[in-house]
Symmetry: C2
């Protein structure tokens, strides 16, 4: 049955699939300096932000993505004090990072200020920590920021970007990872959204190669559901500068001093379990 | 962007979402005695079977569902010899069950023979074990079969059904689970597909209540991705007659004498980790 104009549809051409949400109305549309941003009010998923035709965040299901982009990498570091977020303009990841009391400073670098300004209006719950004195939001080029930063500037770098085409392409390269490596301190960790394990194993395989060539000593992928993204199955890949990724502060995670909807210590461990096809495909 | 007629779309009305696959051609359509069955050749997901408008199985991604409906429950039983599959007409679950050498007998009871006959043509790889001498396929009413079966007839019952509306509704009821309880032997286990944790917590909550009222001593849910089903996130719920479900034959699973694409011992353990929202929603 064809869908009429009351649906927003994202078509994933390369995989011949599409996902649609029924909309009540379009709340906003603009062409920013960098991309086309649309905001819809949906029937059942709350508000929806779409950038260049791709679903970015919905009120209903963003909790999985934002929690999995933040808590695993923070609990994988022994003492995460200094966090850099590249991208993340909707501020959902920032909010989760700031739930960790040991975090002293978060720099968030998103090239497009309009994403954040629109999130403040349409996803205000994600922006509720933007005024935290530990957080500094800057709207500049993330790659330049990383290139210019001093050695040992951060404990954690979270790359919460769009897909590796267009403005985000440079964020999936060896050159960029090498700079991340340089500006991380001891036990430094990177976490980056890494697309769908069902549809995008070529991208994940490429990331592993680039990350390893940049000098990181261990790499591990987290698997989690994400309804509004292609295939409904998503991943984040973590890399550690100088330590194995097998452990995390499990006791701290079990006693986390904040609420979550998806993440817990058991889910942390579970998300690291790779499907049987995964490692063979990384090396084939 | 509206999708044209070259797409098959399943609309999930109650959740205002839809999933579509681009099709090359419709291979078959019929109204069987029980339901409307359509088979499509898709662009990127191989063949697709649709029953009464709902996606059932695609060549590309069915491995996750079939492996998670079979291997966890079989490795959760100390010695699974006698298996009953209710539904499962595409025979993908049956194929996985028969990979376990300790299984001596599998009865598969699907009410609609046409599903199996069409699977033999369009999903022949799923049907490759149908002639296994341990397997007996019967095309009769599963509820009647269970009601008529003797006590201690099976070690495992797998309920691989369509959604709990129409012909499958009775498979989600206390009355049915009580009969399952009766015909299971010591350590007997049920595993049943239990819809999307994001969209259908009301169904899962209802299942838990009905299962517990039927006398099962422990219940646990497995979480896994399933691209072509609503939300892309699915679940199977297991119940044990007289034992806790916390353990499984981990060493046997680690040394499984067959290949899988999704399941392994680590994934088994991981799939049992419930998202933080899950248990509170079961009891609220």
């Amino acid at each position: 049955m064809p869908l009429d104009e009351s649906w927003f549809t994202e078509i994933c051409e390369t995989d011949g699939s599409a996902f649609s949400l029924k909309i009540k109305q379009k709340l906003h549309e603009e062409q920013s300096e960098f991309q086309k941003i649309e905001i819809f009010e949906t029937e059942k998923f709350g508000n929806l932000m779409v950038i260049d035709g791709c679903t970015m965040v919905s009120t209903r299901d963003n909790f999985v993505y934002h929690e999995m982009m933040s808590h695993p990498v923070l609990y994988a570091h022994p003492a995460p004090k200094r966090v850099l977020i590249i991208g993340g303009g909707d501020c959902g990841t920032l909010r989760e990072v700031l739930k960790h009391p040991e975090v002293e400073l978060v720099h968030q670098i998103d090239i497009d200020e309009r994403v954040t300004r629109l999130s403040e209006i349409y996803f205000s719950e994600l922006c509720e920590s933007n005024d935290d004195p530990r957080a500094e939001l800057m709207f500049i080029d993330g790659i330049k920021w990383v290139n210019d930063a001093a050695e040992d500037s951060y404990d954690i770098i979270i790359i919460d970007s769009t897909d590796p085409v267009g403005p985000a392409e440079g964020l999936f390269s060896r050159k960029f990872y090498s700079q991340c490596f340089r500006i991380l301190g001891e036990n430094g960790l990177v976490a980056q959204q890494s697309e769908s394990p069902l549809l995008h194993m070529d991208i994940i395989k490429g990331m592993y190669q680039e990350i390893q060539e940049a000098g990181f000593i261990d790499t591990a992928t987290l698997f989690f559901p994400q309804c509004i993204y292609p295939s409904g199955w998503w991943s984040a890949t973590m890399a550690c500068k100088d330590n194995a990724l097998s452990g995390f502060r499990q006791e701290d995670a079990e006693n986390k001093p904040f609420e979550t909807q998806y993440y817990n210590a058991s889910v942390h461990q579970a998300a690291l379990s790779a499907p049987e096809f995964f490692y063979p495909k990384l090396t084939e």
